[in-house]
Amino acid sequence: MSIVLRAEDISKVFRLGDVGAKTITEDIRAAWHKITKRQNPYIINASANDREVESNNDFVWALKEINFEVKQGEILGLVGKNGAGKSTLLKILSRTTAPTSGNIKIKGKIASLLEVGTGFHPDLSGRDNIYLNGAILGMKKSEIKSKFDAIVEFAGVQRYIDTPVKRYSSGMYVRLAFAVAAHLEPDILIIDEVLAVGDQEFQNKCLGKMKDVSEQGRTVIFVSHNMGAVNDLCSRAILLNQGIIKLDGPTDKVIKTYVQQNMQVNINENYNIDDATTRRGTGEVRFVAIDTFDVSKNNTNEFFQYDNVSFKLKIKIIHPVKELLASIAFRSGKTRDIVTSTSKIKVNTEGISSGDVFTIDIIFPKINLRPGVYETYYWLGSSYADTAFDVVDNLMPPIVIGLHPDTKDIFTSGYFDDNFTFQQNKI
């Protein structure tokens, strides 16, 4: 198949910190170097993009010498940790910012969906907003006109089509916005995973739409750190790490590398408790370490269905508490809903004092999860006023359940297997 997109040596330098009086002297210095035909001194010194390492250098490479090709009809997943350069690459591909060097060659019409409903005006009716949003996304008026009825039907807002969208419920608003985006027909579609927010029905609609798009021979570039969705949708993936391509290959191989890379995450009592998106809680009791082991005590996060999976949670008491409960949950990679959770395990807190460290082992002798990638959720808290002391949500490597080599069952949709009986009667 032919190549529809080729990125050649894409690099991007970002300036960290505030733009202010200091920048003007830097601008002048950079301009002077340009006049005297020397390379910009700030770009030469730019450092690798590692958000956890402090540096005095204000300039970093968000991307460095990125090269890849995309074939027609491919669904390419872009994965990597926060700050790996996924969004920057996305922005360059969607032309909202230019690369510092290198270029990208594209064949066909390209459209990007970094959000739905861009340019919606609250005072305009649904009808007017369909036209406006469609035009912003690059559709011609005649094109929107011919798809108008389909868009309205897809959104299911026939009755409200002449009402200003500010009167819409948030669900209707998002449906209408997505309906317009779903009727775009570009040759290459770039999608950000932030799209996959909203209720489960809507997420499935988004993901289903992406599959449709590629079945029509269009190319999709999907950016995500949702391993489950990438695994489901993409045949090939690229792993970005600190602005460079770490691995480009088949999805399962890339996910494996990504997961191993994340094994290095340190969970300790000093780890950023205020970060609402990752770790939250009141902090009286904290996780110090979390590890998973297979039946022969090997530290791993890859298992087969019905394997023995044991969790070792290392816990530190910062302030003594009256009651301490612990819980583990698995999340579905696709929708991020919790699909299974242990009941809250009561930890004996008699005679504990500040500074005590102990471990809890939670063992699943025969884990009943179908093959897939399951993100994990660890919780410490108490039943008083539903307090959470420490929550580690999607910070640890996900649990990967592989298809057992002995199984012939290739149907892997769903999360659990259950025993059932089967009977056939002729009437």
Binding site: R95, T96, A98, P99, S101, N103, S112, G119, D128
Partner: protein, 285 residues
Amino acid sequence: MRVEKSEDWTLVIKPKSNLLDFQLKQLWEYRDLLFLLVRRDIVTVYKQTLLGFFWFILPPILNTLTYFIIFGLIAKVSTDGTNPILFYLTGVISWGYFADCINRTSTTFRTNASIFGKVYFPRIIVPISSVASALVKFAIQIGLLIAVVCYFYFTENNVFPQFKYIWLLPIIIILMAFYGLAIGIIISSLTTKYRDLSNLVPFAVSLLMYATPVIYPSSIIPEKFKWIIQINPLTPLIESFRFIFLGSDQISWWQLIYCFVFTIVLFVIGLVLFNKTEKTFMDTV
């Protein structure tokens, strides 16, 4: 390996574009967006107001009355024998359009940062649409002006509309639009990184009005200061506008040509700056 010809690609994303590559073809492809943005601006501005379009004509009427009372009745500034109401009204309306163009376009990047950060389309569409939608307001105000001119023409017979120069009117309006647009996009490009300038703009625009014969005729300016009025490219536009409707002031063809050249040069500078800024402003805004 297959060797690809360069013309195989429909689009190449590069760090910098050619300075003078304005991508007019692409602009034409997005003409529907231009039309829809103009429509949005017009429809939404006075939505949920009782008086609706009346707000387009109320401000110039009030401004004219204010100038008439302060400059005409109290300060007794000469209007060169022209009916003072009409003199101020023509000044207020034509200046108003120009100022509108600057004010609306000078914040293009900052007010649209959320859209620009998500979707690509030729950014220049947005300031052009602002200038075009301001034109609708201007047209309605010209309607008001024509009504007032008719009233004085038939009751007092002291206005002399120059019908044989009516062809000049669209040219003057286009020049005003492009001059305002040029200044606006230059300011909006410069303010993405350093915001200081944006604090100066409203102040500078109102100062510029006093350096333009809006509320006084250029004839009352002492010779010593005439050059200020003469190098101001806006002077011939306002004066020609007044000449066409009232028959007062005069058309200085040399000044009009000067204004024309000045506007083109400024607009090209503006486009170059704007195109340069649109590539990276998301990193600094």
